[in-house]
């Protein structure tokens, strides 16, 4: 059964109560920072390597070519084979542009439409031109561009 306390006791109770709450808040805060910090912060920075994606002479001029990169990545505490599809576009004698095939709307894979000369997303009708810029549909941003360099006849991409 709850007990009655005198009104004169109220300020003291309130003061001691706030100290109690304060200490408990600090304890909860420390535990929250440790537990929350562990769970919420990013643990693995994506490690990007230069990978050989294609031979330069295999690429047609100005025609996007789909290439699947297979690379071993750290997946937390295990090694996993990551497959990633990119498009390579030979834009000059020894210049190649590369785009991630992932639509920037909701993550479906775009495909090159040779007739329309555009990338089309099969999910919600997003359309991108050969430079990756949005031509139509809901995608908020252009296709993600990937750094490239040409070593002799090898096209290297940073992925």
């Amino acid at each position: 059964m709850p007990i009655e306390t005198s009104p004169a006791d109220t300020p003291r109770r309130r003061f001691l109560g706030s100290i109690t709450t304060g200490i408990l808040s600090v304890l909860g805060g420390i535990l929250g920072v440790i537990g929350g910090g562990a769970v919420l912060s990013s643990t693995v920075r994506r490690q990007e390597d230069w990978l050989a994606a294609s031979a330069l002479h295999d690429l047609p001029d100005n025609e996007p070519t789909a290439v699947t990169l297979s690379v071993m990545r750290l997946d937390g505490y295990r090694q996993a084979l990551e497959r990633r599809t990119i498009f390579l576009v030979k834009t000059g004698e020894s210049e190649v542009a590369a785009f991630d095939a992932t639509c920037t709307h909701l993550g479906c894979h775009v495909a090159w439409d040779p007739e329309g000369q555009v990338f089309r997303c099969p999910c919600h009708g997003g359309v991108f031109d050969r430079t990756g810029a949005v031509k139509d549909g809901p995608p908020p941003e252009p296709l993600v561009k990937i750094a490239t360099r040409v070593d002799g006849n090898r096209v290297m991409v940073q992925a």
């Binding site: 306390t5 100290i19 920072v33 937390g76 090694q79």
Partner: protein, 704 residues
Amino acid sequence: MRDWLDSRTGFRALVKHVLDEPLPNGVGWWFVTGSIVLFLLAVQLLTGVALAFFYSPSPDYAYDSVRFIIERVTFGRVLRGLHFFGASFIVVAAIVHMLRVVAFGSYKKPRELNWIVGVLLLLIVLGFALTGYLLPWDQKAYWATTVTLNIVRSVPLVGGFLSGVLKGGADLGALTLMRWYAAHVFLLPACLIALTLAHLYLMRRQGISGPVKAVPGPPVPFYPYHALKDTIAAAAVFALLLTVALVFNAPLDAVADPTDAAYVPRPEWYFMSLFELLRYFPGRLEPLATVVIPGLVIALLLLLPFLDRRPGREPARRPLVIGSFIVVFTGITLLTILGFRGAPVTSSQPQQAGPAPRGPVMVEDVFKNVQALKGLTVDEFMGTMGLMSASLGLCCSDCHPGAGTESVKWEDDSNPRKITARQMVRMVQAVNRDNFSGRQVVTCWTCHRLRVTPLATPTLDQLYGEAITELDDVVSRAEGVPTPTQVLDRYLQAIGGAEKVAGITSIVATGKVEAFGSFGGGGNFEYFAQAPDKRAMLSHLPDGESSRTFDGRAGWFAIPLAVVPKYPLTGGELDGARLDAQLSFPAQIARTLTGLRVGPRTSLQGTGVYLLQGNGARGSFVSLYFDRESGLLLRTIRYTPSKIGNVPTQVDYEAYRDVGGITFPHRWTVTWLDGRDTFDFSDVTFNVPIDLAKFGEPLIPAAR
């Protein structure tokens, strides 16, 4: 908003009911013990949930995921530390709480049921500690659980069944880990929460017992007067726990290895008394220690309120109860101390002396820009580097610009070979994992064979040339060859007779050494070996001191002008150093190596030999080549596992000469992946005392 919530839930009345609990006047600091346990349980729950975000309960990944938590997760080391050390804190807090209840007679009528619930809660806490132990899947986890399962198996009548239930499968493995994980994170927490709520409900229903002698005065509300005491006590305990978690690393052994017969399991301190008790009840009496005595203590604890029914709560009026608790508590404390001091009863190994090895030097502590081979110790890392360069027929400077000079930049990535090497390491690991269950069937050597670019097309000349006679790394028992015992008996006979050889307890020798095939210059060496497992090879070279020592427990490698001049041995290299020390004494070969087999007949440079092979700890194995004519040992190769393949170390023995009736090889050629040393022995003596410091950590070699 609060009013709306209150109108729907009535939470204000509930909070008032909880906080305004009337406490008897005079409730002091002794009554904070229960709140401390409750607070620590909350810490375990929170940290356990956070750990579960990363932990993987499978033998393939459990250990890696724990290492991942420690090394990569933000605050991961502290998080695991809080959970690990928190377990010990809870056990202490729960026992202190129980002793407080006993001292104050708080278990008496009408609080009998709450006492029983409290005892069950203590057992649940110990259940948590036991099940949590296996989860890291390290050596300690595996072997301590093996002992636990065997203890359970010794229970009369139902032991086999219970042990089977705990194991989940035929052996301690994936099903066991899953089972104990499920118990640790689902079953036990459910029981804990239910019993804790029951404990709190019963405490409120009966009221807390208060001081032994009632203090006159009106009751005081729990909040904030006693709540503040509880909070201050919890904060103090948490400050201590956090300090411990910050200062000390929660231990993590090497990954569990079911083949390691040398590992000596020791339980955590709270189970040490039970472990020690086993020592006094050997053989058929074992169930007394495993079931009868602990069962009796638990039964007496549960029955305490019914055995002591007199109303008085003063300790002085309850000498039997207080005396029994003092006796039992002292007994448990004594057994725990004896357990820590005494030799482990489950080990057939001799007790090892010397200081405990310090923490390993990790590769990230020494080198920058390590990517594909992170998490290795320096010696493991150097082994993998040696394997790579040896497999491709390259030297350090082929990948690391300036290697071998003072201006080397190991971290430099300008050479594309380094990038390729990282990709190849990951590729080979994936090939082995995806196709061979992680066994190292494919290594650098499999394809490269001293070439940078592996051959893709069969060479017809080789196809129709001489047959390749290389034996597999691991040989099977062959037909038409002597047994291992016959080969070893012949060897012991050839070097002086089994009895005389068995009498060798130490070897001291000196002589001349040519280091790195004379590349490192010549000098003097000292060799010391003491049975059963101590060894030191100390070379005094023009560039400084080179040494390889093993003191029976820890080992070190030191070499002048090296990338890392000195480092402690760990993992495979430590196992290798132990094998070297044990095999220094020929009479010990048969009991050092397991699974001895004699392989197919083969030859060494035209000399017919028997190849005897046996296993060491953790996947290491040794090949011994004995001359078929003389019976003498001509070569040993020990193979120790590394992240990317086995690391071979070879010793060729020549120039056998008599020393006091023992035939001893006076020329040893030691070959490893990075070099070759030749030792010419000139002065060999047996059974002389050796200063144990010779086997210890060497001084860092000073360049001359």
